[in-house]
């Protein structure tokens, strides 16, 4: 009975010890003979870059790695024990950040960016795993960076993460936008072309201008349409430069807000004064005031 209890206790203690060892090696602060995993691969990559290690960065701490670490430690004035602890890591230029298997904001941000740019498929969880490493390396290769899988300052900059101290004061875009200039130009055109017409006729002229902007056969801007040579008589006889009336402004705003009395017309003419023979080949669909409007 007693020996049985003892045995159970022993097994428990053994189990505990083993798990501690396992946990320790998984999140090891110190890496030594027999260690495996991402951390080792990282150390090996660094050692290779600095010429201490010849051979593959295979992620297994073996004899070759041991020799390289010793050599590195000697050169760098560290205790030459072959153990890669915090000091050695620092000397190697490996930051604890972005390596640990724990949640990390930088990793999360990097994952999000990498996913948006199509390098990373997987969860944006802030945990640096093999998939993340693969994505970081792929990204580094494409961007001419050292492909070490470490999210260091250069990689961070390339990813567009962190630090935007360059622009002292971001100016609000709204200060560079004015719809009033469109309204004014439209009002000028309406005033020049349709002054004295019923209100619907004035809005209609504005609508035709906007329908033209959206039509493939005409220029793509309001100014382009209004100033198109031979398009509007008010432009060629400079009536467009008269000061627009308040009604013209109102009509311009209604047209810009989407009111279209013509239902999509792109031509209009005054049958009494029209000089172009071509315009008579159009079929009028609506007549408002003195103007005839046509769709095709």
């Amino acid at each position: 009975m007693r020996s049985k209890l003892l045995a159970i206790c022993l097994v428990c203690i053994l189990f505990f010890a083993i798990s501690i060892y396992l946990i320790d090696s998984a999140f090891a602060k110190t890496i030594f003979w027999g260690s495996r995993g991402e951390d080792v691969r990282q150390i090996q990559t660094k050692l290779k870059q600095w010429g201490y290690l010849v051979g593959n960065a295979d992620g297994i701490y073996g004899a070759q790695t041991y020799r390289a670490v010793i050599k590195f430690q000697r050169r760098n004035g560290l205790t030459a024990d072959g153990k890669v602890g915090p000091q050695t890591k620092r000397a190697l230029g490996i930051r604890a950040v972005a390596i640990a298997g724990k949640y990390n904001q930088t990793v999360r941000n990097a994952q999000q960016k990498l996913k948006q740019w199509g390098y990373y498929i997987g969860a944006v969880d802030g945990i640096y795993g093999p998939k993340t490493r693969e994505a970081v390396i792929k990204f580094q290769r494409k961007n001419g960076l050292v492909a070490d899988g470490i999210i260091g300052p250069k990689t961070k900059t390339a990813l567009g993460l962190g630090g935007d101290a360059a622009v002292a004061d971001y100016v609000a875009t709204s200060r560079g936008v004015s719809r009033e200039k469109d309204v004014r130009l439209m009002a000028m055109a309406i005033n020049g072309e349709a002054r004295g017409e019923p209100y619907a006729g004035q809005v209609a002229v504005g609508a035709v201008i906007l329908n033209r902007v959206r039509h493939p056969s005409f220029p793509n801007t309001i100014a382009g349409v209004i100033y198109q040579p031979l398009a509007f008589t008010a432009v060629s006889d400079k009536q467009i430069y008269l000061e627009p009336t308040e009604t013209s402004f109102k009509a311009a705003r209604d047209a810009l807000n989407g009111w279209d009395p013509t239902g999509g017309a792109i031509y209009y003419w005054n049958p009494i004064t029209a000089t172009s023979k071509w315009i008579w080949t159009r079929t009028p669909t609506v007549k408002i005031g003195k103007h005839w409007f046509a769709h095709e």
């Binding site: 971001y170 709204s174 959206r214 493939p216 040579p229």
Partner: protein, 448 residues
Amino acid sequence: MRKGLILLLVVALIGTGMWGYDQYQQNFQTSLFLENQYQRMFEAMITDVENIQANLGKVMVTSSPRKNVMLFSDITKLSYNAQERLSQLPIEHGSISRTTKFLSQVGDISTAFAKKNLDGKPLNHEEMNILQELHNYSNFLAQQLIGLQAGMVEDGIRIGELSAKLDHDFEEVNQNMMTTTFMNVEERMQEYPELIYDGPFSEHIKKKKPHLTGRKVEKNELIKIAEKFVNNGSKYEINVLGENGNARIPAYLIELHPVDKNDNNKIIMSITKNAGKVVWMLNTKDIKASKYSERQGIEIAQKYLAERGYKNMVPTYSIKHDGQIVTNFAYSQNDIIIYPDLIKVKVALDEGEVVGFEAEGYLFNHNDRKLDEPAISKEEARELINMNAKVSKVRLAVIPTDGGNEVLAYEFKAQFKKDTFLIYINAQTGEEEKILQVIINDNGVLML
């Protein structure tokens, strides 16, 4: 005495001569300057067209999507440049309308194809055929233009003369080399195939039919529909201004005069031929000093819509000018904002009266939509947003695409420093569909 008179006349004559010569010089300088501008635009346009057809040729043999995207965006830029330059030459619209349309469509289809490439979808056999056709047409256009240019140099034809002659003599203009060439091109351009693709200038958009159904409305019924819609107690006389069979929604255009002679508030409106719905209405009354607030204005608008049977309409944004407030409403289906079902209502803030109504978007697009469940979650969509943007609000919305389709998307309201944006993430694919910048000023909100 006589000598003096002669001397005076001589001086006057010399003076007039000098003035005349100066005027002539000025006129000459101005028309030369204009001619130079025209020549530059003409030559630049030819170069654009040459490059368009060369690039369309290259597209045939590239294999990488990336190169394709570069070529297509180049074609887009060149096409719009050429279109712009052509339309600013003094040639009558009738002689260049199809050519300008051709250039617009080449640019537009290139954008659509570039997007397709970016989505990782290769162009299919049919699309490659279209590109070959477009290549041949632009090649033809380039050849004609090169020929025209050479001919013009030989005969010393100036572009500026065209506009001067145009108004007077049609015959003479017809003989003009430039016009004739463009007329020839126009004829040929009539033949190029109908282009259907995912872009605003695609032919399928013009052919779309409204979802609106209902019986045909006769002219004598219009007054009843109109008065019921206006519903302000006044009696009106009706004047039918026209019938618009070509509009997106075929409709009657009518004008209402109050029977009461002291009342001069004319109302114009458009009523659909089928189902007799009011497409839009404008009341042209004068507006005095505002008594109502913007918020009250929006409430009035919402009530107005409800009374006319437009339920579940949500205000999306509004803009104020001239004592009136224009509010956009979108239909809401189970809390999903359906932006294509758009109605605008304009309220005069002096007496709180609705003076404008515009429902083409709603009448054309509204239907009983079967919306798929989103394939990605709100959180997943949020991860796809640029980290610099601080997200404040999110909701589901149906938005229109350039090609006239609809997509279900998450709408994120996001902030970057002093700017506000609406970012739309496709709820099925996670694709960033659209970004709108929200510009807020004293008059209201503007979307860019």
